[in-house]
């Protein structure tokens, strides 16, 4: 089964975080900022040059690059 990752969503689409790929500093920062198992994430927009992206998670707005979003596996 091919799982979707956060960077593949389009603006206004949303998903629920299943888990993060890998272990490291980036992952820990994402977790602290609320991008962790079970969190609902909604893509708001991409920056003018296509990257980074802005998402809505746990009640606030977060900017991250597509390369970071690619670490976030979504459910379903």
């Amino acid at each position: 089964m091919i799982m979707r990752t956060l960077d593949q969503l389009k603006p206004k689409e949303s998903g629920v975080v299943a888990s993060l790929f890998g272990v490291g500093d980036t992952q820990q920062r994402l977790l602290e900022m609320g991008v962790s198992d079970g969190a609902k994430v909604e893509v708001l927009r991409f920056a003018p040059m296509g990257d980074p992206m802005e998402i809505f998670v746990r009640g606030f707005h977060l900017t991250l690059r597509k390369s970071e979003a690619a670490l976030v596996q979504l459910e379903g």
Binding site: Q27, R29, T63
Partner: protein, 732 residues
């Protein structure tokens, strides 16, 4: 014994506004021992009782990745030996963003210190339809929860009552509140704590339990590094074993932590908060639909930057003229009061002309700091990072570098210090090394003088912008344009490695708080005046002395003879006056050429010839290596000494316009003005910045590198500018 209460919270929750409202103007700032995180203390007056408050840096988590982040943990756990113990914590939280704020609170609770919650931004939560039951929240947290609106100073009487109770030790630590971690993790922490306890001799201190937790969870984090440094690299292996044992079912330890904590947060929220479903789109979001829009957002960004430069250039004009006029009048007045001679020359040519010509730029520096403070305070800076990340990515940096870079436009020192928010060391050092290339406010005087004197006031066809404003914009752009390849080279060579992540909160837009903005502008102005009053003052006197001495008796004799001849020639009164004035000027010029400064300057002049400079410009530039704004003072001193000191100062611009080579050709023209500006744009003429870089990086090699590469760039760039401009601009 003196005790302190600590104010903590996530970034962007209005912590500073709460701190300001509580302590008013009774604030002191300084640095924590060993690191450069600034500490701010203030006193809260509760009737007779004075409560000391410490404003800690905003953070999202107690997981420290740098020595600066560990400060929050150290202060809260009383590991900073020279600080008074923290007996209670005031946690400032954003009511509209409770979930992530509570994550941090879950870590703070484990410090086992009494705390209260100041729930800020209730109005925003209200507007978004988030209903918070403060009583239920207080019960769930086992601590007082006080709703406040820091910007409107509402809710503070209740908050003060809670603070008093906290200060007097009336609040107890509830043992039942907090996250429940898996048994495996609890065991691992206990085991590790016991192990560290047995190494206390080597560590030189007892490691508190919450810190043991951080050592266990944060692989590669600062808490771990600090222990490994004492216990040796073998300890890493031991740690790995503990970590493996701590994980319950295959996930990573940080993931396990996040799961447990956000699970706890969910329970708290369920008991006290109702969220609207579907969520309401906030005002910030609607603003962002425009301001971070692909087209409008970019146009707005460029527009804002242009407006800032146009404003600095033209709005501050009248105030500057006023300061300039006052300085001129003062100089003439003081000159008339003092007898002719050395003292008069020192005061009028040295001090008044020197320091005065620097003071003129205070209005512009205040205006620029005002813009930076406003953009920071309203939340636009994070949007700028969002817009610029890709662009900065091309030179290997991230959008996070944008904020330090932009701050560097006011001054590289806060810019370099602002790099502390950059998590990646290589990114941070690269940013530090290119930050001084941004055109800081101290460069502005040079641009203003050169542009004002030599760039014609023409309008650019079809736009509201004038040529001087465009040249100013280009000068600011030059720093950025050069920083890109420099950063790219640094990231490919000295700081090679993987690209660090960009994970950045976009705070809600808010109306900037007057007090915060004023304080920032005030601090900039005070620093500038402080420099003008000390370093610039001292350099001015030294430059004056070098330009005044030695007073050769033979020159004096030659001119005495010539004056006598002129008087004896039987000229009309008008002709005689003219002749005597001419002789005064020639004499002053001769003295200057024969002075220590004049001789040295003439000796090194050939080095600066390719840039179109004469020895006076060269000398003024060299004298301004300690602080670049000195150039204006030294130009004022050098070019004034060749003129009649008794005439009221007609302003530096007019003096420079009239300056000539020995053969009578005008010294300054557009290519020379441009080459001077380019030199100043690229050169690291700031002792304070270099010292700050040393302090931030811990080694002298980094300021040395910054100084070396910038001087080479400045010399090369300035030479190319002069040569090319001389070819392109006809008639010079």
């Amino acid at each position: 014994m003196a005790t302190t209460l600590a104010l903590v919270g996530n970034p962007n929750v209005g912590k500073t506004a709460v701190f300001n409202a509580l302590t008013g103007l009774s604030q002191t700032t300084g640095n924590y021992a060993g690191v450069t995180v600034s500490r701010t203390y203030g006193t809260l007056h509760l009737g007779e009782i004075k409560v000391k408050l410490a404003d800690l840096p905003g953070s999202y988590s107690l997981a420290a990745r740098s020595p600066d982040e560990v400060i929050v943990v150290d202060v809260l756990l009383d590991q900073q030996t020279d600080e008074a113990p923290i007996t209670g914590i005031i946690v400032v939280m954003d009511a509209s963003n409770l979930e992530r704020n509570l994550y941090f609170l879950s870590q703070l609770i484990e410090l086992k210190k009494p705390f209260i919650v100041a729930l800020n931004m209730m109005d925003i939560a209200d507007r978004r339809g988030i209903k918070i039951n403060c009583e239920a929240l207080s019960k769930a947290l086992g601590a007082p929860v006080v709703p406040v609106r820091a910007h409107k100073q509402q809710g503070f009487s209740t908050l003060c009552k809670a603070i008093l109770a906290l200060y007097q030790g009336d609040l107890k630590v509830s043992s039942s509140v907090g996250c429940t971690f898996p048994e495996s993790q609890i065991q691992a922490v206990a085991g590790l704590a016991a192990l560290l306890k047995s190494c206390e001799d080597k560590l030189g201190r007892t490691v508190p339990l919450p810190e043991v937790g951080r050592i266990l969870i944060d692989a590669g984090g600062y808490a771990e590094k600090r222990i490994v440094r004492r216990l040796g690299p073998d300890f890493v292996k031991t740690l790995a074993e503990y970590r493996e044992a701590a994980v319950e079912n295959g996930a990573s330890l940080p993931a396990q932590e996040a799961k447990v904590r956000y699970g706890w947060v969910k329970e708290i929220l369920a008991a006290s908060v109702t969220q609207p479903d579907p969520r309401k789109h906030s005002r910030s979001e609607r603003i962002d639909n425009v301001l971070t829009h692909k087209l409008y957002g970019t146009v707005f960004f460029i527009g804002i930057m242009m407006i800032v430069f146009q404003a600095i250039y033209s709005w501050s004009g009248p105030v500057m003229d006023l300061v300039d006029g006052t300085v001129g009048v003062l100089g003439a007045w003081v000159g008339a009061m003092l007898p002719e001679g050395m003292l008069q020359s020192m005061v009028v040519d040295g001090i008044v002309a020197g320091v005065g010509s620097v003071l003129v730029f205070l209005p512009q520096i205040l205006l620029l700091s005002l813009f930076v403070a406003l953009l920071e305070d309203c939340g636009y800076m994070a949007r700028a990072a969002f817009l610029m990340d890709k662009l900065l990515g091309w030179c290997g940096l991230s959008g996070q570098s944008f904020i330090p870079m932009l701050s560097s436009f006011a001054c590289a020192i806060p810019g370099v210090m602002a790099t502390r928010t950059i998590y990646d060391r290589r990114d941070r050092f690269t940013t530090i090394l290119v930050a001084p290339l941004m055109s800081c406010s101290a460069r502005l005087p040079v641009y203003i003088i050169m542009i004002g004197a030599f760039i014609p006031q023409t309008k650019i066809l079809g736009t509201p912008f004038t040529l001087p404003a465009v040249v100013l914009f280009i000068m600011y752009g030059l720093g950025i344009a050069v920083a890109v390849p420099v950063a790219w080279v640094l990231k490919k060579t000295v700081f090679r490695g993987e690209k660090p992540p960009l994970i950045l909160e976009m705070p809600s837009y808010k109306v900037p708080q007057v007090q915060t903005v004023i304080k920032k502008v005030y601090r900039e102005g005070k620093d500038f005046l402080g420099r003008a009053g000390t370093l610039i003052f001292a350099v001015t006197i030294v430059v004056w002395a070098l330009a005044y001495f030695p007073r050769s008796a033979s020159i004096d004799e030659i001119y005495a003879v010539q004056r006598a001849e002129a008087r004896a020639a039987g000229l009309s009164q008008a002709a005689l006056d003219q002749r005597l004035t001419a002789l005064d000027n020639l004499e002053a010029g001769d003295y200057l050429r024969h002075s220590v400064l004049g001789r040295t300057g003439q000796w090194i002049e050939p080095v600066f010839r390719p840039m179109g400079w004469d020895w006076r410009i060269a000398t003024a530039t060299i004298a301004s290596f300690p602080a670049r704004e000195i150039i204006v003072a030294t130009l004022g001193t050098l070019f004034n000494m060749g003129a009649d000191v008794n005439v009221e100062s007609e302003g530096l611009i007019a003096t420079l316009r009239g300056a000539t080579w020995p053969d009578g050709r005008p010294l300054f023209n557009i290519p020379v003005a441009l080459s001077i500006m380019v030199f100043f744009a690229l050169c690291a003429q700031c002792g304070a910045t270099l010292i700050t870089i040393k302090r931030e990086t811990g080694r002298w090699r980094w300021p040395a590198l910054a100084f070396a590469y910038m001087t080479v760039l400045a010399y090369t760039g300035s030479t190319i500018t002069y040569q090319v401009a001389s070819l392109l601009i006809p008639g010079v």
